[in-house]
């Protein structure tokens, strides 16, 4: 009994200490799950160097991050798409001015099962497959199999970026399979011979292969040179010009060291 009460006392003391430190300098980062690995890694490195800084990083999705920034519940909003006009209007009406910082680039790779003989598609063919005009691989020079179209759930930034870049904002066919993460898309495509899907560059794994779009393979160099059409910048939004800890953090990510982390996480650095 005595041991327990000592334990509780010590816990409370330690928690008090932690809270005390947290009060020193605190930064809340929220948003895109695509940007999450970069933000998380950078926050760890940053906190290892600045013992005073307390950075909490949350996912939630691009839309959630921007909504939180507008509501003032986060300091930095991660986003895998540019802010929408409707969101900008809302921000301005609340006296906020979101400022974009491009922190990395990412390519959206189109993947098929590694047993699929197809090695490339034109952008038009890709669009026709995803909007429902093409339903069999034989229509694009493959086997006479049905195409199993795999997409992300409609709330993800990757879904919206793919819609903008590849589908010219047209609606994805209704019978497309919906998966909740990049990883899930990759594993479904790996297990389904007739499947096609799209994932961030970092998620091209075993059992799937990336295909050329308009003759260009998605690689870090084709994304940097913008030759690969399905590439997008990844953003961190702040309210107005960043100050204090937020500024230090964003400067860190944009520094050569920060960009090295971006590279290591499988994304494309901007410098």
């Amino acid at each position: 009994m005595k041991q327990i009460s000592t334990f509780i006392l010590v816990t409370i003391l330690v928690m008090g200490l932690v809270v005390g430190v947290a009060h020193a300098e605190r930064l809340v980062i929220e948003g895109s799950t695509t940007v999450l690995p970069i933000a998380q890694r950078a926050a760890e490195e940053f906190m290892a160097r600045n013992k005073d800084a307390d950075i909490s990083v949350r996912g939630g999705g691009s839309g959630v991050g921007i909504t939180s920034l507008i509501a003032g519940t986060c300091d930095i909003a991660n986003s895998s798409r540019p802010i929408k006009d409707s969101e900008l209007e809302k921000a301005i009406s609340r006296g906020k001015e979101p400022k974009a910082h491009v922190i990395a680039m990412d390519g959206i790779a189109v993947i098929v099962n590694s047993a699929n003989p197809i090695t490339g598609l034109s952008k038009q063919q890709l669009k026709d497959i995803y909007t429902g005009k093409i339903s069999y691989w034989s229509e694009v020079g493959g086997p006479s199999e049905k195409i199993v179209v795999v997409s992300r759930d409609s709330a993800s930034g990757t879904f919206e970026a793919f819609g903008d870049l590849a589908l010219d904002k047209q609606k994805v066919r209704k019978d497309a399979l919906m998966e909740a993460s990049n990883q899930a898309v990759a594993s479904v495509v790996a297990k389904t011979p007739g499947a096609i899907g799209y994932v961030g560059l970092a998620y091209i794994g075993k059992g799937v292969k990336a295909i050329e779009i308009d003759g260009v393979m998605p690689t870090k160099s084709t994304v940097v040179s913008k030759k690969y059409r399905l590439s997008r910048p990844l953003f961190m939004y702040t309210n107005g010009k960043p100050t204090g800890l937020a500024k230090e953090f964003i400067d860190f990510i944009l520094s050569p060291e920060g960009q090295k982390l971006v590279d290591e996480e499988g994304y494309v650095s901007i410098k």
Binding site: V64, I147, S154, A155, D175, A180
Partner: protein
């Protein structure tokens, strides 16, 4: 002193008993509060009967008919599997099994209920779906059929244990009378015991249905997730629960999409509520019929 103490205990337990009522009312109020703003922009008819679910598109569409149909579709499929398995097991355990078999079978079926649903989903995704895809030469194994099989297995313990309760409510005198007039075991079972326990077994089936329709993780992982009206059991579908689970995390609080997801939750709640009320009515009748009162 003693009386005061007793009074206090009485109060504590009264509060505890009413706590769940408070939770229920709170959840219902919250569901309505978060879902009603949607209907200022989307007519109820378009919501319930629309066939296009594009919640984040610039020209957003919030039609949930494919999602409702998908939920009912996989639940129907699950019934085909869990009714014979569940009721059959209950009959065997209660009417035919020896005491030793019963002592072994009953806990085993209950263990089935304790497997987390994400494990069922994982099993379905990694083993059942690829197997069915190859076996039946389907384009993909992630479809209503696979989801139905998994949900059916998951609902078996619910159906079995409630059906078994119903069987144990049938007085032994019924069986004895039947056997005494010369009926054999099979006739006793199908013509006396089953009809007597019939409404209790219906309750079991309906509760199994609510279990299946409300299941989330497994269908999210196994059903495929295509928001399209299913034309066969081998089409990928997207039940209501998996839509909420997949999209709620990324829907901005206060957006129409967010309200729409709550509205789906409301519809789902109403459907399971109807199931549970039906089950309650039927089971009351059953008790009256057997002269057990309330």
């Amino acid at each position: 002193m003693q009386r005061l103490r007793e009074k206090i205990y009485r109060w504590i337990f009264t509060i505890l008993a009413f706590a769940s009522l408070i939770f229920l009312v709170g959840i219902i109020l919250f569901l309505f509060k978060e879902s009603l703003p949607l209907f200022r922009y989307v007519p109820v008819g378009d919501f319930l009967l629309g066939t296009a679910w594009y919640p984040t598109h610039e020209e957003a569409e919030f039609g949930i008919l494919p999602l409702i149909v998908a939920s009912l579709w996989v639940t129907l499929g699950a019934l085909v599997i869990c009714v014979p398995l569940g009721v059959g097991s209950a009959l065997y355990i209660h009417e035919l099994a020896s005491a030793r078999q019963r002592a072994f079978l009953k806990p085993l079926i209950e263990i089935l209920a304790s497997i987390p649903s994400v494990v069922y989903g994982f099993f379905g995704m990694v083993i059942a779906a690829p197997f069915l895809q190859q076996l039946l030469k389907l384009p993909t194994g992630l479809c209503a059929f696979t989801a139905s099989v998994m949900l059916g297995i998951m609902a078996v313990p619910t159906v079995t244990s409630i059906a078994e309760d119903a069987l144990s409510c049938v007085p032994n005198s019924f069986r004895e009378a039947s056997l005494a007039v010369g009926a054999n075991r099979w006739q006793t079972l199908t013509q006396v015991v089953l009809p007597a326990a019939g409404s209790g077994i219906s309750t079991a089936i309906i509760l199994g249905m609510s279990r299946a329709i409300g299941e989330t993780m497994t269908v999210l992982m196994v059903a495929g997730g295509a928001a399209v009206m299913p034309r066969s059991f081998f089409d990928p579908v997207r039940p209501m629960t998996s839509t909420i689970a997949a999209e709620m995390g990324e829907a901005a609080v206060g957006s129409l999409h967010y309200n729409a997801l709550f509205s789906i939750g409301l519809i789902l709640f109403l459907i399971t509520l109807i199931f549970n009320i039906l089950a309650e009515i039927i089971s009351r009748r059953f008790r009256l019929k057997l002269g057990l009162g309330r």
